[in-house]
Every structure is written in structure tokens, then in C-alpha cells.
């Protein structure tokens, strides 16, 4: 072993105790076979080429299922969500019969948007009136009223609002711009089996933030798809999680990793006191760190046991979760653009949306949810907020990610950069690009010389 290798190799560690697959009530724990992906560089032009951006739109964004919003936000007929993806704006509407339907958010008269982005309601009218000339549509997209229809010799258009495919799963509304997409559950497979054990429907939204970031949407996806960067830009988390003993599972198009929380990284020395970040986990579970006399290495298991024993008395039902799920971060990528940090008491969705026309920009949505204990009043959901990169803090860890990414994006353009050198800790990034290629280049595979 040469000196470089000695300086550089990852620290040895004792594996963290894990729940066994047979002890997991619902969420599969089996390690998925590691996909055979080559170790070549990932072409950096995929992150800024306008041609590649166009291919992504035509062959991927227009084909997949995308997260539209939360069903609980549109409980009544006439409640709606307007969400944007790339150049398109989508209107998701609760129907009179309780179903949900989705349409391109565009008036068939002169192309005006019917509603601005966000959540709203038609109120008692149960119609959408275009703000421009007051063309008015029913909830099902048909025409309710066109002012002065007698002045249109050609009559009303044969087509009404353009409907798109829409379905629900997990308390969320999903839509697809694909006219004949696979069934939603087939697209999400196998993740519904993984995620339904969590009490997603008992969680209230606590943050709803959109930040415009100066990077490609994939630069942001990558940032949440590996734990290798923890030692780089999140040093404080080394006293909070195990960044090396991480199980990575790649499925057909989605993937996940399982990160032990409430434990120390082998990169740091055993400290003389319980680190504050781990105290946070203990306190949330109801364990007083000041009354805890066991080694730090026992905390993760003790928190699991404590939550298992006292969850019910705190109004929290953990019966469908395995022990590891009571502490650890089960982190899923729902292709193409949802990073899910799923925990027993909360879950966070980070959604990356491409900019309408600039591959060097994107929209980063933070949606966090917290379990409302049984018997407690359902709190008001958080209001949506939006700002630009760096204008406000989104919390220390995400600020560290955000601050880093514009530099990464700028570096992608550099003549001196020869492509992404992606390692085994970053397997999910490689898998993500493989799935993207499957969409863009189809079953024939990527032609020689293509991006």
C-alpha cells in the first residue's frame, strides 16, 4: 500500500446493529442486488446542455408520473392545486363526485393561465373563470360560459380544457403528461410496499418552501443521493449518523439508502458527552439525556426500544415499522425528482423541478410533514413560501447543500473538468443516470457518442 492509499482510504468500522428482514412487518429490508453499472465517467454536459434538456423534456418529463400535491390540501369540490413542471402549468381539481382530475392550466381562448401557482378554491361558483376575458369552465374542464358567445361566428371550440392523467397514492396526487402512462402503482413499484407502513396520512405539513437554485435539477438530485459528502460539507452530522454503514438498494427505476441515525460516524473520535444532535433524537423519543448513563454507542438501540415501549402512550402507532425505522433515515429517490427522508415521526420531500428554459437553474421544493399524535388537534398546514438562492436560511444542513451547488454547476462548464468520477458510495447517482438513459435512449441503449 502506498502513502496515498494510506492517507485516503475509508476508516474501518464495526457494522451498526440492524433489524433483520424477517423482523420488519412491512417495509422490505432485503438488500437488493447491486446493479452492474460501469465505472466510467458521467458526461458533465448532461448537466447543462440545452439539447439534453430538450431530450429530457420530450422523452422523460413527458412520460413519467410526477408529484402534484397533497390530497388533504383539496378536500372540497372546487379546491385546486396549480403546480408547475418545466414550461407547463398544471391545474389539479377536486371534482363534485370527490375524484381528482388534472388539466393543463391554460384557457382555450387566447392561452391565458387560469390560475396562478398554489392552492386555492373556486368557492361556491364551482367554476374557473379566466381572468382575461372571463371564459368560464366547469370543474370537469367543460365550458360553463363564454361571454358574448354570439359574437363568435365559429361557435365554441370543440375541445375544452386539455385533460391529463391523474391518480392518487399515499395521500398525494400524481399526474403524468404521458397520454398513456403505465398505471401509477406500477410506475412507483416497489415503493408503495415500502412506504405504506408509515403514517403518512397522519402527518401535517410543517414546511412548504420553494427556492430557486442556480444549478441543474440533477445537480441537486445528486446532492441528496449519496452520504459521501457528509464528511465534506456537513461535518456536524458525523456526530449524528453513520455515513459509511449505509445500505444501498437500487430497484427498476427508483432507489433508496438506509442511514443509521443517532450514532457516531467512525470518522470522529468518541466524544466525552452526548452530541447535541443525538440529544435531539433522544428528547424527541422522551429520553432525558441528562439521565442517560450508558455509552453513546447504545443510544440508537435504546431510543428504538423506548419508542417501541412508549409510542402508544404518546399517541404514536409504530406497529407497522421495524426497529430501525424508529431512528434511521430511510431515504428514497422516486425517479426522477423526489428525495424522501422517511422517519417514524416525520418525513421530508425534496422535489427538484427543472427551470422552464435554463438548464443552469431549477426549483427546489421543501415539503416537510410531522406526525400528529392521536387525540391532538390537527394543526394548520404551513403556508407556501418562495425565494431565491441565498435570500433566507433553510436550516444549517440544507444551507450547506445550497451554498455548495452553484459552484458545482459552474464547475460542470469548465474546460478543465473531464466528467463526474462517481464511486461506490455514490452508486445511486450512477443508477439514476442509468434510468434517465433508459427513458432517453430506450431499450436500444445509448448510441456511441451520445450525452
Amino acid at each position: 500500500m502506498d502513502e496515498f492509499w494510506q492517507r485516503s482510504k475509508a476508516p474501518a468500522y464495526t457494522p451498526v446493529p440492524r433489524s433483520r428482514p424477517e423482523d420488519s412487518p412491512e417495509t422490505p429490508l432485503e438488500k437488493a442486488p447491486t446493479p452492474e453499472l460501469d465505472w466510467g465517467v458521467v458526461d458533465q454536459r448532461r448537466y447543462f446542455s440545452r439539447e439534453f434538456m430538450r431530450l429530457e423534456w420530450e422523452r422523460m418529463w413527458s412520460k413519467v408520473w410526477l408529484l402534484g400535491g397533497r390530497e388533504a390540501d383539496i378536500p372540497e369540490a372546487g379546491d385546486y392545486i396549480v403546480t408547475e413542471i418545466g414550461p407547463e402549468s398544471i391545474l389539479i381539481v377536486r371534482q363534485r363526485d370527490g375524484r381528482v382530475r388534472a388539466f393543463y392550466n391554460v384557457c382555450q381562448h387566447r392561452g391565458s393561465r387560469l390560475r396562478g401557482c398554489g392552492i386555492g378554491t373556486t368557492g361556491a361558483s364551482l367554476t374557473f373563470k379566466c381572468p382575461y376575458h372571463h371564459w368560464e369552465y366547469e370543474l370537469d374542464g367543460s365550458y360553463h360560459r363564454i361571454p358574448d358567445i354570439d359574437t363568435f361566428p365559429q361557435g365554441k371550440p370543440a375541445h375544452a380544457l386539455s385533460e391529463i392523467r391523474c391518480d392518487t397514492w399515499g395521500g398525494f396526487v400524481w399526474y403524468s403528461l404521458n397520454e398513456s402512462p403505465p398505471p401509477l402503482l406500477e410506475f412507483l413499484d416497489p415503493l408503495p410496499r415500502h412506504l405504506e407502513a408509515y403514517n403518512l396520512h397522519k402527518m401535517v405539513q410543517t414546511r412548504d418552501i420553494t427556492v430557486e437554485w442556480d444549478c441543474n435539477w440533477k445537480t441537486s438530485v445528486d446532492a441528496f443521493n449519496e452520504t459521501y459528502h457528509v464528511q465534506g460539507i456537513h461535518p456536524q452530522l458525523l456526530w449524528y449518523l453513520h455515513d459509511l454503514d449505509v445500505q444501498i438498494d437500487c430497484y427498476e427505476r427508483h432507489n433508496r439508502y438506509l442511514i443509521p441515525f443517532g450514532t457516531l460516524s467512525p470518522r470522529v473520535r468518541k466524544p466525552p458527552a452526548i452530541p447535541e444532535p443525538i440529544k435531539t433524537i433522544m428528547k424527541a423519543a422522551g429520553i432525558d439525556p441528562a439521565d442517560y448513563d450508558r455509552p453513546i454507542s447504545e443510544i440508537r438501540r435504546d431510543v428504538q426500544k423506548h419508542k417501541r415501549a412508549f409510542g402508544a402512550t404518546q399517541g404514536k402507532d409504530y406497529s407497522r415499522l421495524n426497529d430501525d425505522q424508529l431512528t434511521d433515515d430511510y431515504h428514497y429517490l422516486i425517479f426522477p425528482n423526489l428525495s424522501l427522508n422517511v422517519h417514524a415521526d416525520d418525513f421530508w420531500i425534496f422535489r427538484q423541478r427543472p427551470h422552464p428554459h435554463d438548464p443552469d437553474r431549477m426549483f427546489y421544493d421543501i415539503m416537510t410533514f410531522e406526525l400528529v399524535p392521536d387525540g391532538q388537534e390537527w394543526p394548520q398546514r404551513a403556508e407556501h413560501k418562495q425565494w431565491k438562492h441565498g435570500d433566507k436560511s433553510i436550516g444549517l444542513v440544507l444551507d450547506q447543500d445550497a451554498a455548495n451547488l452553484p459552484g458545482v454547476q459552474a464547475g460542470m462548464h469548465s474546460k478543465g473538468f473531464k466528467g463526474l468520477w462517481v464511486g461506490a458510495q455514490e452508486l445511486r447517482i450512477r443508477h439514476f443516470h442509468k434510468v434517465l438513459d433508459d427513458y432517453i435512449y430506450g431499450p436500444q441503449g445509448k448510441p456511441a457518442g451520445a450525452l
Binding site: Y240, A290, D291
Partner: protein, 253 residues
Amino acid sequence: MDLGLRGKKAIVTGATKGIGRAIVELLAGEGVDVALCSRTQEEVDATVQALKRQGVNACGEAVNVRDGDAYKAWLERAVAALGGCDIFVPNVSAGGGFDSEKNWTRNFEVDVMHTVRGCETLMPHLEKSGAGSIVIIASTNALETFGVPQAFNAMKAALITYSKQLAQHVGKKGVRVNTVSPGPIYFDGGSWELIKGTMPKLYDYALRQIPCGRMGTPEEVARVVAFVASPAGSLMTGSNVVADNGFTKRVQF
């Protein structure tokens, strides 16, 4: 200057890491036989081995000092193993914490009561020494406000008061009692490494309070402790020696 430590016998609590470890290493280097404890047997064994390599008699056990009876029994065993006790350095601390009322119980039981129990248990042996000396490790957190109103700061203050009173009480028996109050001390695996990693703003703030911009090392504290503990420090009793690299701003008349 000869400190006059050669052949003396010292008991130091919490001596496998940081300040405690530096104290026993330095004392051993001066020819002092040492008994020590900490929570972890392997760490005790490793430290004892390291001290023996310096050619002194050394022994140690894993002890939880919150357990008063077990702790006192160990002290007696340590005295027997050393064949007496000239120097006692109660160094164990429960550390800072602002989590609940339990922090007060914890710092009281660990910082205060292990010191008090140790002094009372060892006093007959220290009296026999002729050069008996207790050096209690306090903190500058007792002297000036720092951080949050936590039990650690107040319990360290209690130790300084206790030390002064005890010095008056046992002076006629030839036992000296002092405290050393270190400022921020940085070492691998220490509190300030943890703070630097998890609360970098607090670390930077503390560093800015130190005129020369450097935290102390355990070895620097150990040298102060060794002097105060040694026969060379014979004029000192009832003192609180601040060793903080200028961290505190008060004037100590």
C-alpha cells in the same frame, strides 16, 4: 526547580483522557506512583500500562463515581495498593448540559459529591503524608458567565467554595487544598473538539475571547496542577489558580 514529587503517591479520578490523563502522565514522569479510574476498563488498562512504562507503580479500575460506596471502596483499595496517598486530584466531571433538572443531580453527584467523598475518605491518609495535597479541578465557567445557566458552571463554583473552606479546616493537619480552574482546553476526543464539530459558532466565539487565539492543552493544565500539588507549592492553600490563557476578563485581586 525540583518539585519534590519523586516517590509520592497520587490518586487521580477520570485519568484516561484529556486533562486527567495529562496529569497522571506528568506525575509519573516526575516519579509519582499513581492510582486512577475511569468508566472504561480497557482505557484504564491502557493508561496504567503507559504509566508503568515510565517506571512507576501504577494501578487503576473502572469505577462509576456516582456510586458512592463503590467509589469509596475503590479509593481504599487504591491507597492500599499504593501504600498511602500524598496527592488527590478529583478530576471527573459530568460535563456541561442544559437538558433538564437531571443535569443538576448529575453534576451534583459527579462533580461535587465525588470530590467531597474523595476528600473525606482520603483525608486520614493525606494527614499521614506530611505533604498531603488536594487539587480540585474546577473551571473558568464558575468564574464568569459562559454559555447557558447550566449546572456544570454552578457546581464547579460550589467546588471552589468547598475547597477554600476545606483548606482552612485541614490546614492545621498539614494538608493543603487548592483548585485549578482551566479555561477552554482542546484535545482530541475532548469537549471542544465536539463543540468545534457540532457548534462551530460557539467554538469560534470562545476562541475569539482568548487574546493569543489558542485554547490550552491538557499538558499545560497538568503542569499547573503538578506544581500546586507538589511540595514545591507549599505556600499555596485555599487558592483558586486560573489557567486560561487570558480567556476570562475579570480582575482577580
